[in-house]
Assembly symmetry: C2
Homo-oligomer: 97 residues x 2
DNA sequence: TGCAAATATAACTAAAAAGTGATAAGGTGC
DNA sequence: GCACCTTATCACTTTTTAGTTATATTTGCA
């Protein structure tokens, strides 16, 4: 593993949309960043900055940044707040695989 | 609201599979028990007791019971362990609408 | 009813997340 | 370069979850 070994999600976002090799390796990465990726996509899809989202969640920008950094795996309570703030509906499922 | 006002998930499981009125009212309940319901369904679908599941998660039966009680909203890390233990794949999504 | 398996709850410590303020770093346009 | 907006990180306290032991309660069945 060479390219897809980001130290932070900032690195990840750099490579992501551009490099196909990066994208392939990304699929094999740990789950750690998947949640963060989901957050970023949901927030940007809602057209919000971190500060705007934070206010809607009753939190601060620094907390949203941490959520999106992938260094923490939040609780379902936070997922629910996030969903409410982005006008989406949280879905958690355990799919047969 | 009369019937669908359980104090615990134990009450809930009583009514659930039998009473159609209960089922209707259940849909209107808060999110509080949704996660617990999801846990119970995934575990029973896997044909496991709480103790068996707990062992696969590297935890104790009492912890699984607490998860299924709905009094706590666990972290995504716990959801991942749960998925691994039930042989399922965790899906978390923020759906539009 | 009585036994055994399964589930629920309580009480406690350890670990992790929630939450905050300050500040650094990145990018954009002037 | 310099503002300005946005995102990232650090350091810290508070709150919640993780994890355990012990025990009570429930459930199914002989």
């Amino acid at each position: 593993m060479t390219k897809a070994n980001p130290q932070s999600l900032a690195d990840l976002r750099q490579g992501w949309a551009k490099d196909p090799e990066f994208q392939r390796e990304f699929a094999a990465l740990e789950d750690e960043f998947v949640m963060a990726q989901t957050f970023i996509q949901a927030r940007t899809a809602a057209g919000l900055t971190q500060a705007q989202l934070a206010e809607r969640m009753g939190a601060k920008q620094s907390y949203v940044a941490r959520l999106e950094s992938g260094r923490m795996l939040p609780s379902v309570r936070t997922l629910q707040k996030f969903a409410a703030a982005t006008g989406t509906k949280l879905r958690v499922a355990f799919d047969a695989g």
